[in-house]
Symmetry: C2
Subunit: 313 residues, 2 copies
């Protein structure tokens, strides 16, 4: 059986700036204890960053100690490879040994080599290591990236294909898994975005073709159009494959995030659909959509311009 990783708090933080009310997090942890989810990613760990970023961007030790006591699941934090070097590891990860089970690393394919050095350091500290490699729809454009994947063996426990733009289809998932499997025997993961409402079918397709871990979040809470919805994934695994699911616990955690959804209103819409289906960066779209300052049509116009520019290059 493949594993499920819920990263609601970490990925949802893009909307709350990584501030979450403690009672909500506690409700989340308690519900997850009763659900067939294996890993909970509860935030980033980071050296100090200039901008203001909330608690779960730093995941302080006192908080991790508290969650470790309350949670029966494997706990996960993620590092942004672009910000963290091997010399930061003692500061960033030293204090969380014994609290955290897996450390994931968010990786730009351009920096795979640097990420491998960082990951070796993480691995030596005794953590499971997950690679979250972004921009899977463009991997073939990154020179030798695919060939270099053989170096991942023995370092990464999971190697995630991240559909950063939310624009891949089941056939792309199958093709990319084939490319990865030709180079390495690492366990494959999939992190889907929902711009085109493809997160579920892409995840099911990934599993069918051998993926061993899938990411999901409650109500799909996550950057931009959001992710595979945990409640959708579990409901389908229950009806299709007989996975036992405590629907009361699932209802409780969905309910708990209801007010947060009402406030932030993530989910797909026309601007995210356009950016997803044309592999345009999500960050701008999310800024434009969430400030609610721009009309849909001015956003759409800006995206059309980006599309033309991409075509012209």
């Amino acid at each position: 059986m493949f594993k499920i990783l819920d990263c609601t708090i970490r990925d949802g933080g893009y909307y709350t700036n990584w501030d979450f009310d403690k009672p909500l997090v506690d409700q989340y942890i308690q519900s997850m204890n009763q659900l067939p989810v294996d890993y909970l990613e509860i935030g980033y760990r980071s050296i100090a960053i200039k901008d203001y970023l909330g608690k779960y961007f730093y995941s302080p030790v006192y908080e991790l100690e508290d969650l470790r006591k309350k949670s029966g699941k494997k706990l996960v934090i993620i590092l942004n490879e672009k910000d963290i070097r091997v010399e930061h590891l003692n500061e960033v990860l030293g204090p969380v040994r014994g609290l955290i089970d897996m450390v994931r690393i968010a990786i730009d394919p351009e920096h795979l080599g640097r990420a491998l050095i960082l990951a070796e350091g993480v691995k030596k500290m005794g953590f499971e290591v997950g690679f979250n490699v972004m921009y899977m729809s463009k991997w073939k454009q990154y020179g030798d990236f695919i060939k270099e994947l053989k170096n991942v063996d023995g370092i990464a426990d999971y190697f995630y294909m991240v559909d950063s733009y939310g624009g891949v289809y089941p056939n792309d998932v199958i093709e990319t898994i084939g490319l990865v499997k030709a180079e390495t025997s690492v366990k494959i993961g999939f992190h889907g975005h929902n711009n085109l409402e493809m997160a579920l079918i892409n995840s099911l397709t990934a599993i069918e073709h051998g993926a061993e871990i899938i990411d999901a979040t409650v109500w799909g809470m996550g950057r931009g159009a959001g992710n595979l919805k945990t409640e959708l994934f579990l409901t389908v695994l229950n009806s299709k494959f007989g996975l036992p699911v405590n629907f009361n616990a699932l209802g409780n955690v969905v309910n708990a995030f209801d007010a947060v959804l009402e406030k932030y209103g993530w989910g797909t819409n026309l601007p995210y659909m356009i950016s997803g289906s044309n592999s345009l960066p999500q960050k701008d779209v999310m800024d434009w959509v969430t400030t609610r300052f721009y009309s849909f049509n001015s956003i759409i116009q800006a995206l059309q311009n980006q599309k033309e520019k991409v075509k012209d290059n």
Copy 2:
């Protein structure tokens, strides 16, 4: 090239009780004139029904005359087979000859024989005829239903598979198309529901396997969890197959329904996911969810009970 039918007003009427502000309908018609959509289904026609039902449940002649003037598209109305007999046709359809291009008939598979008689009457009046046959996930359980499909040839112009429960997957679509094609050469249509966020992939799969008409609605507005989103479908057809789309017009019509979405809040959620993935009737769930009187968990409990009952039978 397959055809696209937008049925926002007809299917969205389940939320508004078929009342829509006239300026919204006019904006809709005007935007659709600029979009690559072939048919617009703007309501039901019906004999008088006991309950109060709004304008677009009856689609009065003065309204159809107005829309006929404003729209460059083929116009469609739908009949509920359960309410309409062949002797009603003069009253119900006589006055709309020349205004309406296609008449669809919503059909319970159990009443295919009766529907064929009604459809012959409709066809004789000069309309294109669409069959919208419900409950596709259960067709194999309806005795000789599949075999009787040979009688559809020459009567129906389009024969729709309707995923009433919102629970079918691409493989089911492929299998059902195969069953239908073995019996009849009628043009196949697909009307998808979005409980499991499968409407897009199911529709794309249907096209790939020979479907010739697809239903969609703006923001997915439609009964229960709603339908394939017109804006998602067009955006994907644009990026994947180069279909020319006027994104300003698309943005305008999406915008126009924004306030309606805010008010009625359709779309999928855990209760719809559970009912969809277990082929449970949608009407109850929609009543429970939209009154906002019941907690998610009491709805979920009720659905679990229905599931058990179905299993016990």
